[in-house]
């Protein structure tokens, strides 16, 4: 029995060929699309932000309408640190992540109280409060005019940020990759599996001895740290922070991204980010005035078609890839929740 469980867990955690291809492509984009690094950088940041939300929404079943609170907190932390103390990006990243984690830990107790609807309100409230603090503390944050004068040193003293966004994309992508690997390990660990159990039925999970609340606090804290790091990446690579990082539309956008890509499977956030940003950029380029209409239309169509199909499509693709390479092992991907 134990062996079988262990085998199952290990099999779930195994890297699949499609995943290698995916990451190779992402890194190949550094060379393949030299004049698209700026948007790729934005995509990588949005993807990390979406992965962060996926951890709590897709795995632990915690809904949030205020995830931008941590994103914005990380952005301001990194921006202020660079402006007033250390301008080395990696230190800033770690500090912003740690700060956001603390904030996440503190607010997780609020989120634990109540049900989904309460959680939506509480998370929304936390983001609004932070937004207003940033607006009022203009002496520190620059208020509605934005934080000016953020200048970054080269990364670990070697790689300087360039006008073409090459360093920025490489930096964000490496960060995304490392954190993704960590998140992947986390969700495939016993801790991650217990989260899935809590999501599916908290009462039963508690009955079989899963400490529900501590687990939720843990994943919420990790998720907050991820969001903070995503925010820090944005602040460092654009060298500018505006109130907008805490705005409601950030929280809504990232939720949208996750809906497009599919929650509860870490690649959903990344696929969603790629599609969302590219479609947005393409439409905004074609019709600068009316692109909102098209985005809206696409979203409605997407939801009518059923987002399940999209992710199961990706899963089917992955499965097919596996089948082709290792006949007989194709069922492994079935555990990928759509």
């Amino acid at each position: 029995m134990r062996d079988r469980a262990e085998a199952l867990i290990l099999r779930r955690a195994r890297w699949r060929p499609a995943e290698y291809v995916f990451w190779l492509l992402a890194f190949a984009a550094l060379v393949l699309f030299p004049d698209r690094h700026l948007i790729l950088n934005e995509i990588a940041i949005l993807a990390l932000f979406a992965v962060s939300l996926d951890l709590i929404l897709g795995y632990a079943g915690l809904v949030s309408l205020g995830h931008a609170a941590f994103f914005g907190f990380g952005a301001y932390a990194a921006g202020l640190l660079a402006k007033h103390a250390v301008a080395e990006p990696v230190i800033g990243l770690v500090a912003a992540g740690a700060g956001a984690a603390l904030l996440g830990f503190a607010t997780s107790f609020l989120v634990l109280r109540g049900t989904d609807l309460t959680r939506l309100m509480v998370t929304l409230g936390v983001a609004l409060i932070l937004g207003e603090i940033a607006n009022q503390a203009a002496w520190l944050t620059g208020g509605a005019d934005g934080l000016q004068g953020v200048a970054m040193d080269p990364i670990i003293g070697v790689f300087e940020f360039d006008l073409f966004g090459r360093t920025a994309y490489a930096y964000s992508l490496v960060t995304l990759f490392l954190l993704f690997v960590a998140a992947r390990r986390l969700v495939n660990s016993p801790l991650g599996l217990s989260l899935t159990a809590i999501r599916d039925n908290p009462l039963r999970a508690a009955a079989v001895g899963v400490p529900v609340n501590p687990r939720l606090v843990a994943v919420y804290t990790v998720s907050a740290a991820y969001a903070g790091i995503a925010g820090a990446l944005l602040a460092q690579t654009t060298q500018f922070v505006s109130l907008d990082v805490l705005d409601f539309h950030r929280s809504a956008d990232v939720l949208l991204v996750l809906v497009i890509g599919g929650a509860g499977y870490l690649y959903g956030g990344i696929v969603g980010a790629v599609l969302f940003r590219l479609v947005q950029d393409l439409l905004a380029g074609l019709t600068p005035q009316y692109w909102h209409f098209w985005i809206g239309l696409i979203l409605v169509v997407l939801v009518l078609m059923g987002r399940e199909r999209m992710t199961s499509g990706v899963a089917a693709l992955a499965r097919a890839g596996v089948d082709r390479l290792r006949p007989g092992a194709g069922r492994a991907t079935k555990e990928l929740r759509p």
Partner: protein, 392 residues
């Protein structure tokens, strides 16, 4: 079937990434990157400037000094980090020779370091905080500064029986500028500021603030709001009954913006404002401009439109002076001290500050024919930005 859908999606994504290669192919044209809020709460600014830019090109031809001009329009949705990314892309991918537009102060400040780094002239056609031109030596402004429009009003008020004033401004750069400029001048001239209220930039609700104005019982309330928000303010001003309480409404021209003034209805009648442009400005240049603009765009030009129109004038004249050479330093040098007659009246670029020097008019909302207009009744000639003038 499903696989095909996904493959199609991925294929389309990759194709999107490859697009700019095609767009970049021809290079002899001079490109102007126009970044404006075309959607969101400040979309009216974008609409006005875009129409004005098109009109200028229509009236003056799309070629200067033997080079064709091309506009690359981008929508920044009024979000500063998007503005910055778009500016960067325009510089790097589209190789633009000018950046132009910039609807709000944060949007103009965010890309300023890029303009300096890439040596690309950044023409600010709308944003009005005084400090903007100090953010980069490549910024030239064709709109106005808030203190420039405010100080004449602060001088006019005490002479016309307004002694006690409450100020009500939007809480961001230009609002702070307006509040400070008004207070300093007004107090120096013997006026009394009862209180200074600030309304958030996003999703403003004026009702509680107007209630506080009503409670303070001043002679007048001095108002600054960004272009496009004035209608909402006027509506709530009337709903609260302030129009009947004898409190006068004075402000910079942003409040009675030509774009929305007509829709405010008769409640706006008699509002006194100071500004650099009115669609009712009495000059042959302006009559021709307004007529052509209405014909081309289908609506009335406001001060944003004239900022965009004069911004294009700067582009054309600078290129003429450099004979089509697009080196950034040369273009900025060519724009300095340039003087011409704009639809708004005589204007020039201050060679020290790269800010615009222009007449400020005191106006009153009146009915002309069937429409409401800001009718000018006094002129303060050649006003420089008072903040930078004070710095010496």
């Amino acid at each position: 079937m499903k696989r095909r859908t996904v493959l199609k999606g991925l294929g389309a994504s990759v194709a999107t990434l490859a697009l700019p290669h095609v767009a970049r192919a021809e290079s002899s044209a001079v490109r102007i990157g126009l970044i404006l809020p075309m959607t969101g709460p400040f979309a009216s600014t974008g609409r006005q400037i875009e129409a004005a830019v098109k009109l200028y090109m229509q009236r003056n031809g799309d070629a200067v000094a033997g080079r064709k001009l091309e506009i690359v329009l981008k929508d920044d949705t009024g979000t500063a980090d998007v503005t910055k990314r778009l500016a960067q892309e325009l510089i790097v991918n589209d190789k633009v020779s000018f950046l132009a537009g910039f609807g709000l102060t944060p949007l103009a400040l965010a890309p300023a370091p890029l303009a300096t780094q890439a040596k690309v002239p950044q023409i600010v056609m709308a944003a009005a905080t005084s400090t903007i031109t100090e953010a980069s030596p490549f910024i030239v402004r064709s709109s106005f500064t808030l203190p420039q429009a405010t100080v004449p009003l602060a001088e006019w008020a005490p002479k016309n029986g307004i002694k006690r004033v409450v100020s009500l401004v939007t809480d961001y750069g230009p609002g702070h500028d307006a509040e400070k400029a008004f207070k300093e001048r007004f107090s120096a001239d013997g006026g009394q500021m009862l209180s200074e209220l600030r309304v958030p930039l996003r999703n403003p609700d004026f009702a509680p603030f107007l209630q506080r104005v009503a409670d303070a019982k001043p002679d007048a309330v001095f108002v600054f709001v960004p272009s496009g928000v004035g209608a909402q303010l006027m509506k709530q001003f009337v709903e609260r009954g302030l129009d009947k309480s004898g409190i006068r409404l004075i402000g910079t021209g942003d409040v009675t913006d030509d774009d929305i003034l007509n829709d405010m209805g008769d409640v706006a009648l008699g509002v006194i404002t100071t500004h650099h442009y009115s669609a009712a400005h009495d000059s042959p240049e302006n009559k021709a401009f307004v007529e052509a603009f209405r014909k081309a765009a289908g609506f009335r030009p406001n001060f944003m439109a004239v900022g965009g129109y004069d911004g294009m004038h700067l582009v054309y004249e600078a290129l003429k002076k450099t004979n089509g050479d697009t080196a950034g330093e040369g273009l900025v040098a060519a724009m300095k001290a340039m003087a011409w007659t704009s639809p708004r009246g005589p204007v020039s670029i201050d060679p020290q500050t790269r800010d615009i020097v222009q007449n400020i008019y005191v106006r009153k909302v009146e009915k002309v024919g069937a429409e409401l207009f800001n009718v000018e009744f006094a002129t303060i000639p050649n006003v420089k930005d008072p903040v930078k003038a004070a710095k010496g």
